[in-house]
């Protein structure tokens, strides 16, 4: 769902910003990108991981942020699933990795019919940023992809 508070228009960008959540909010100790947190990202919007008997952590809009001392981190890392990536604020350095990462991001964003950008894709892409990145929600999809390429990478590689 997209909101329009002035007139009923069809917009591509500008969906709601991300808010990381887990089923146990106390495990969130800070914002995305701030020190002492681990930023996970999933290709799926609401991926749940059973981290302990009776406790799931859930990605919200592709994002899960956990405090660095949270024991759930090792459980999530230990899954080794391709659906979950750990985002770090360091870009890839090799051209081959950047090329692969670019292709991966293009696939996420331009998933609409005839290769158009989708709102779902942009929501997923925005999950790679944190609040300190100061990214405009209405930015051009290609610009957003460039911003990701310049700033982010996956800890497990691409």
């Amino acid at each position: 769902m997209v909101r329009g508070n002035k007139s009923i228009i069809d917009r591509v960008a500008g969906d709601k910003k991300e808010e990381p959540k887990v089923s146990n909010p106390s495990s969130v100790t800070g914002e995305k990108g701030s020190a002492g947190v681990v930023h996970f990202w999933s290709t799926q919007s609401k991926y749940s991981v059973a981290v302990a008997p009776g406790k799931n952590v859930r990605f919200n809009k592709h994002v899960l942020v956990l405090g660095s001392s949270d024991p759930s981190i090792e459980v999530v890392r230990g899954l080794g699933t391709v659906d979950i990536k750990e985002v770090i604020d360091v870009p890839f350095t090799k051209d081959t990795d950047l090329a692969k990462f670019n292709k991966f991001l293009q696939g996420i964003v331009y998933s609409g019919e005839r290769g158009t950008a989708t709102r779902r894709g942009l929501v997923a892409l925005s999950g790679l940023f944190n609040s300190k990145d100061d990214i405009s929600a209405g930015a051009d999809p290609d610009v957003l992809i460039m911003q990701v390429l310049k700033r982010k990478s996956f800890k497990e590689g691409i």
Binding site: K16, K46, P53
Partner: protein
């Protein structure tokens, strides 16, 4: 004639063996009769296709290989703080900032704070006035609940601006076509067979079950694609369930100790929130997840007993072993064992909602046989083919999900 000396026996490995099928001297012994082949399963039942054919929106005829559909939801009236709020701060950061406009009222119920929105925001930073409404002013944590109140008006106020929604991305899917054939020599066709192996009836069954099983695998795992081939022209491949169910996945890991009832319940409950959700879900599980969930639900007392007082029952509709569970809030899920497509993914499960699935085929190209496809020169052959087209569309994907993981078998046979 060859001569042989020594003790007369027929079990020497270097000579005649009773175990040789072509031993001419000892008659072959069969426990029953050679044609009595004990079939472990008469067919690999494609439960998902059976389920698909029983959907409220089943067997629809489409006339275009591409179809589109949209899902939207009701206007919301609450959101959360995107970042922490410090006391006396003249602005807040809202996750869903488009909910408010100039003159809106914000409540932070957890702290008792209320704020008056100064101007219509253009991003997540929302300017607020604290003095107009009065009350307490304290800090609030990131993630705190924000509720939007009524837009108050004064004696000469004008009406306040509001917001609306437009549907999300239109979804689309393709209709997939597939088929295969077999050929049989006319000598074989006319041969008298002691069993049904090698008969035209058996081969027709084989090819039909084969393609139904393969189509079921595509229904689960296909990823949407289209391409043009130089000779075969345009291909359309529709999305399967896994590609369409991108909202809810529960990963239980591989040890199984996290596969407890609260973990399952926490995953299942939100799938019933949408008003588009059916009252009951159907969950197709591989054998290991089927057993895990049965034991877990039984321990938690969340399993429904059938009239005979048993937990599991044979579902004649789907041809599966099944049981019913209820979530903590009373929502019902029928769990079915899927032994074939999920045989090697036995800790996987798909939670499906019959109200949010649409199935059908290209008009005139449903499951059907094409007979006598041999060319004129193939005078010694008969060739028959089985063909079908299909699409399985997921409408509200928040009502369905995928479970992966749980216990693994101790011994891998």
């Amino acid at each position: 004639m060859d001569r042989a000396t020594g003790t007369i026996l027929t079990t020497s490995p270097s000579a005649l063996s009773v175990f040789d099928l072509d031993n001419r001297f000892r008659a072959q012994l069969w426990e029953d009769s050679p044609e009595a082949v004990r079939m472990q399963q008469p067919e690999n039942d494609a439960q998902l296709i059976t389920f698909m054919n029983k959907l409220p929106r089943a067997n629809r005829d489409w006339t275009n290989p591409i179809m589109r559909y949209s899902i939207d939801t009701a206007l919301e009236s609450n959101t959360t703080l995107e970042s922490a709020y410090a006391a006396a701060q003249d602005h807040v950061h809202l996750v869903d900032w488009e909910l408010v406009s100039a003159g809106s009222v914000i409540y932070l119920p957890e702290t008792g704070q209320q704020m008056y929105v100064d101007e219509t925001p253009t991003d997540s930073t929302v300017s607020v006035i604290l003095t107009k409404l009065g009350g307490i002013n304290v800090a609030a944590a990131s993630g705190a609940v924000v509720t939007i109140g009524a837009p108050y008006m004064g004696e000469l106020s004008e009406l306040r601006a509001s917001h609306t929604t437009t549907p999300g991305d239109p979804q689309y899917n393709y209709i997939t076509m597939a088929g295969n054939y077999f050929a049989m020599s006319k000598l074989q066709l006319n041969a008298a067979m002691t069993t049904n192996f090698g008969t035209i009836t058996k081969e027709m069954e084989n090819i039909k079950f084969q393609i139904l099983q393969q189509v079921q695998a595509s229904l689960l795992f296909a990823t949407r694609s289209t391409w043009s081939d130089a000779t075969e022209k345009q291909f359309y491949v529709g999305n399967g369930l896994m590609a369409q169910l991108q909202s809810n996945t529960l990963n239980l890991g591989t040890l199984g100790h996290n596969a407890t009832w609260p973990n399952f319940n926490d995953f299942l409950e939100p799938m019933f929130e949408s008003s588009l959700s059916a009252m009951k879900k159907d969950m197709f599980c591989g054998p290991e997840l089927f057993r895990d969930l049965l034991n877990t639900a039984r321990t938690a007392g969340r399993i429904e007993l059938n009239p005979e007082g048993k937990t599991t029952y044979y579902s004649p509709d789907l041809g599966s072993l099944s049981y019913d569970i209820t979530t903590d809030s009373g929502h019902r899920v029928s769990v079915h064992e899927e032994k074939w497509s999920l045989k090697d993914l036995s800790d996987w499960g798909f939670v499906l909602d019959s109200n949010n699935l649409g199935a059908g085929q290209y008009k005139g190209l449903g499951p059907q046989w094409f007979m006598d496809l041999q060319s004129n020169s193939e005078v010694m052959k008969v060739k028959h083919g089985f063909f079908m087209s299909w699409a399985l569309n997921v409408f509200d994907d928040s009502t369905m999900g995928i479970v992966r993981g749980g216990t693994q078998t101790i011994v891998n046979r």
